[in-house]
């Protein structure tokens, strides 16, 4: 499978924060969830992908091209949605269409109008008067109307209610029906990713912790729950992280079935992405 986006050993150092050796890829026809707590480096990575800030080292290839050398060619084919609307509040959707048709060669006014109708966005109302959900939908409509091949979403669903979120997720699922399309979806709402992502990339303190298929992650990972006395007796070599809670220990294991065979008397539940993230960040090793 061809990779639409490929990042290798990306580094960027700030005074207080450092992104080090970030590598992952977005295969075509897939949605990659990019998770991590606030300040973990998600937005920095996205800014580096978009060449908004200078990288210290590493490489970013989009559609097989270098993101700096072929910046304009690449950006013609990327749609980006941020966590808020960056359009001027005084604009209406008609203004956006006028501007964007001059920005993108492949901008399709009819397609944009169709999205506006589909998303029930009034064309003459100014953006300032839109609700947050409407603003996000407008951002998505304008990110899709130049027929991009890669969508980059930076917290595009945060702050939205579950109904709007599920509508938006449907749009993304629809988008990748075309096998040449992909989505990089940064979010800390992991339930959204559980619904739509094919892969999950987890970043913590500027480093990639894992990059795995979502199904594999959800089917294989497990949480073993036990009391303090039991925990002391366990062999910790197969454990990824553990955490002491109010009612005993929670242990993250990467192979649930193997752990069940090893400890037939213990409770081992399936792990959600939330729990996996939490244990990685808060747990001990």
């Amino acid at each position: 499978m061809e990779n639409i986006l490929q990042i290798q050993n990306l580094c960027k150092a700030y005074k207080e924060f450092q992104l080090s050796n970030v590598s992952f890829s977005v295969p075509s026809g897939s949605i990659v969830g990019f998770i991590g707590e606030n300040g973990a480096g998600k937005t920095t990575t996205i800014k580096l992908i978009l060449n908004e800030i200078k990288r210290d080292s590493g490489s970013v290839k989009i559609f097989g091209m270098d993101n700096i050398k072929d910046e304009r060619k690449i950006k013609e084919q990327i749609g980006v949605v941020f966590d808020e609307s960056y359009f001027h509040g005084e604009f209406n959707a008609g203004d956006i269409s006028k501007i964007m048709s001059k920005v993108f060669q492949s901008w399709d006014n009819n397609l944009f109008d169709r999205y506006l109708t589909e998303f029930k966005l009034p064309k003459n109302k100014i953006i300032k008067e839109y609700s947050k959900g409407m603003k996000m939908k407008l951002g998505i409509a304008s990110a899709l109307s130049h027929k991009p091949r890669l969508l980059i979403l930076d917290e595009a669903t945060s702050g939205l209610d579950p109904i709007v979120r599920s509508e938006i997720l449907d749009i993304f699922l629809d988008f990748i029906q075309d096998e040449t399309h992909s989505v990089l979806f940064s979010s800390h709402i992991t339930s959204d990713l559980e619904k739509v992502a094919d892969y999950v990339v987890f970043i913590h303190e500027g480093q990639i912790v894992f990059d795995r298929s979502k199904d594999e992650l959800i089917y294989n990972c497990g949480i073993l729950k036990c009391g303090a006395a039991d925990f002391a007796r366990l062999d910790k070599s197969g454990f990824v992280r553990w955490r002491k809670g109010e009612c005993g220990y929670e242990v993250l294991v990467t192979d649930r079935e193997a752990a069940k065979r090893k400890y037939p008397n213990m409770v081992i539940d399936a792990a959600t992405i939330d729990e996996i993230m939490l244990l990685y960040v808060k747990g001990e090793k």
């Binding site: 060449n51 609307s85 001027h88 964007m100």
Partner: protein, 210 residues
């Protein structure tokens, strides 16, 4: 690039009407008082204000952050502001020219003051734009007031010099010809400064982490 300029123009659409009314009012007041030179200063001020407004709007909506995700380079973002400024100044000069025409005063003296107006407008923008990129609109606003005070005074003094008042003081002042020459030369100098200012702003913007 066209998209960026269009964005700024659309942005000013609402305030444009107010500006037009204010400008109209000034035109009526000052042209009847035969003080086109002072009106010129007003026109520069308004066009500079409009540019500053586009920056303020951009800041408010974090437009640059979004713009950089579009097929638009940092160079184009900066260049679009410089072109827009020239466009506004050009419109300002056109208005002044029209006023002189209407008043049937379009002679060498008028041509000189228009030339001086263009030069001053460019020099002011050349100072203000890098400041806007470096400091943002809030801090640059204070600078703008200072930048305005000097040339407004200069325009009035120059206007008076070139006008009837100056001709009687030929003994203590440079000759009419010298002043004329100075003004003609000031335009290419201002253009050079403006070009240099563009490069400086681009450098500032390039190193900015948005």
């Amino acid at each position: 690039m066209l998209g960026l300029i269009l964005k700024d123009l659309l942005c000013l659409k609402k305030s444009a009407l107010k500006m037009a009314v204010i400008l109209g009012l000034y035109i009526v007041i000052f042209s009847s008082a035969n003080n086109i030179a002072f009106l010129c200063a007003m026109i520069i001020m308004i066009s500079t204000m409009l540019i500053l407004n586009t920056f303020a709007y951009d800041e408010l909506s974090k437009w640059d952050y979004y713009a950089l995700s579009l097929p638009v380079t940092k160079k184009q973002i900066v260049l679009s502001k410089y072109l827009l400024t020239v466009l506004f100044d050009f419109i300002g000069i056109l208005i002044t020219l029209l006023l002189y025409l209407i008043k049937r005063q379009l002679n060498l003296e008028a041509a000189l003051s228009i030339c001086a107006l263009a030069a001053i407008a460019l020099i002011m923008a050349a100072i203000l734009l890098p400041l806007l990129y470096k400091l943002g609109t809030q801090k640059a606003r204070i600078w703008m007031i200072m930048i305005f005070l000097l040339p407004t005074a200069a325009v009035i003094v120059l206007g008076n010099l070139v006008g009837n008042f100056g001709f009687h003081l030929t003994a203590s002042m440079p000759s009419e010809g010298t002043i004329g020459l100075l003004i003609w030369v000031s335009l290419p100098v201002a253009l050079l400064l403006y070009a240099g200012s563009y490069l400086l702003s681009y450098k500032v913007f390039l190193s900015k982490e948005i």
